[in-house]
């Protein structure tokens, strides 16, 4: 497939602080790419560089086979949606939608046609004559998306568009953005710190930290096979449990002080040396209730009911960890349960490099 957006060796400094370092990123035509990372990781800066709102220090940006590095934002075939909606407060919804078209001198009849199409798609037809201040947050963001729509943008840029909305609206609009992508098939680049948004929307996720892409993969791969400790920790809610210990190669096992797990089922990408320090990570849902010769026995220390399932907290050699259980399981504090780790779904990292083994 063709690349729609290519970022080549991009560096961006803010004063003396390096925000982005020699970053490469190729986004395929029609792909939904999510840039995910904690605040300050440079994801919004990267988006602003792609939009042309920031001048980069080194490297190139290509959009639709066109080197746009020195081009104005308006000449990059992009539409952008902001966290703060950024609707022009003095204009009605209709004027907001048509502003870009009016600026570039599109015919009136054509503007009308495009606005009708966009407002139908986003169900904002009834709001066209209102001012942004008379709209709710969800409606405002719909209008903001509509503004990108009417411009016939090749690439849609979203800068944390749902962060200002409450949880219910967020889920609603997330669904609509996904539907929009399905129907339009445009390339979309979406910045968020919300992993649920990233997981649900993305074709591929780029997990970023300190201006460097840590892992670029499908949501499934990122969730199941995180390439580094950072990614493993950042993705997943409730987050992955980690145990730090040593690898014993004689019986291919991981050993904490008193406990030992046989790692025969785990597929190592790089086998660690004997006695090297490793971190064993396992997601709460990959721990099963089971009584067998290999199972361990624990007392329940805390119970967090989450609706669809229940999180129970146990501790292994004083390290607390969580187990995700079916909501139908009725346990009380202090109950004794037997569990087993699903080793083949675990993730193991080198303690020093923090990379996946």
């Amino acid at each position: 497939m063709e690349n729609s957006v290519e970022v080549k060796k991009l560096s961006f400094n803010y004063g003396k602080v390096e925000i982005l370092k020699n970053l490469d990123l190729n986004i395929k035509d029609g792909e939904f790419m999510v840039l995910l990372g904690p605040s300050g990781c440079g994801k919004t800066t990267l988006l602003n560089c792609i939009a042309g709102l920031l001048d980069l220090d080194e490297g190139q940006i290509w959009i639709e086979k066109d080197n746009v590095t020195w081009k104005q934002p308006k000449d990059r075939h992009i539409g952008m949606v902001f966290q703060s909606y950024a609707l022009y407060p003095s204009m009605t919804v209709e004027k907001n939608l048509s502003f870009g078209l009016r600026m570039t001198g599109v015919e009136k009849s054509k503007i009308k046609e495009k606005i009708n199409k966009a407002s139908e798609l986003l169900q904002i037809g009834g709001l066209l004559h209102r001012k942004p201040s008379q709209l709710s947050g969800g409606q405002r963001q719909r209008v903001a998306i509509g503004r990108a729509l009417v411009r016939d943008a090749k690439v849609f840029l979203f800068d944390e568009p749902l962060s200002n909305l409450d949880a219910k609206l967020r889920a609603e609009l997330r669904y609509e953005i996904k539907k929009l992508h399905r129907d339009l098939g445009n390339t979309m680049i979406y910045v968020t710190h919300d992993q649920i948004e990233a997981m649900t929307l993305a074709d591929r996720i780029a997990v970023m930290k300190n201006g460097v892409i840590q892992q670029l993969d499908s949501p499934k791969k990122i969730y199941n096979k995180p390439s580094s400790l950072f990614v493993a920790d950042f993705i997943g809610s409730p987050s992955m449990n980690f145990f730090s210990g040593t690898f014993l190669s004689e019986n291919n096992s991981f050993s904490l002080n008193k406990t030992t797990f046989i790692l025969n089922e785990y597929q190592f990408e790089n086998k660690p040396n004997d006695m090297s320090e490793i971190i064993f990570g396992i997601r709460p849902e990959d721990i099963r209730l089971k009584k067998s010769s290999e199972s361990l026995e624990f007392n329940i220390e805390l119970i967090e009911p989450m609706g669809a399932d229940t999180l129970i907290w146990l501790s292994l050699e004083n390290i607390p960890f969580s187990v995700r259980l079916d909501v139908s399981s009725e346990y009380k504090l202090g109950d004794v349960i037997n569990i087993e780790f699903d080793i083949k779904r675990a993730s193991i990292f080198d303690k020093k490099s923090e990379l996946r083994l």
Partner: protein, 308 residues
Amino acid sequence: MNFIIEAKRPKPNMSNIIEANGPKPKHLTIGRIGLYCFILMCALFFLMPLYVMIITSLKDMDEIRSGNLLYIPKILSLYSWPKAWSEACTGFVCEGLRPGLINSLKITIPSVIVSVSLGALNGYALAFWRFKGAYFFFGLCLFGAFIPYQVMVYPLLKIESAIGIYSSLPGIILVHTIFGMPILTLIFRNFYASLPIDLFKAARIDGGNFLKIFFYVIIPMSTPITIVAIILQVTGIWNDFLLGLIFAGRDNQPMTVQLNNIVQVDFGVAEYNVDMAATILTSIVPLAVYFLSGRWFVRGIAAGAIKG
């Protein structure tokens, strides 16, 4: 309805302890009373000169000479007002303040329009288009706002006479524009800096250039701060005496200069009632501006919190 309110009101019970329920009862405390007294006295203190001016302008000269400054006039005499307006002598001409009013309008209106427009443009450029040296330029502006303008009078005079607009309407308009620039740039920049930068980014993506974004996006959002700027400039320029005297030229002397000429008589009798009437007439414009725009003035000062 009344009955319900009655029922809700806390009633003292036997032990005289009121159970807290419903709105907290308001008491007029000694502190409050003191505060109101203080405010009232301040208001009276500041209104005193205006009161004296008005009653003096309504007295005839005999009554003024009798010296009862604070008494209301025994005989109401209104002749000082028309005299101040159209007959009092300002130097050799005796046409009252009327020509001065026209001159002041001719100076103030273009000066305000030009200086506020340029100030807004400056502030916009400084806040959104962070060009190289923007901070240095902003620092210069800040510095400029604190330079006493008397220092600049002589060099400006030399410059204006060199380019041939000294002692003319364009000359005085230019001077007012220059002196308004630092403070106007400052307030506009600060206002624009408080607007969400995303708006500007969105406008750039939508295809606006420097001026289009300014006209279509920024100016429509600038109402409160523009009103503040206009109030500042109208009152400042209207009340100006020195610059008008020096730069406007004999034909364009503003009202303040003519007022001074009326009050500072070298021969004849000092007509205090006419002086007072003339002073009030001169100050009507700035007073009206404050009274009519007080609401906007406060809103403009609090304008940091504008939501999209």
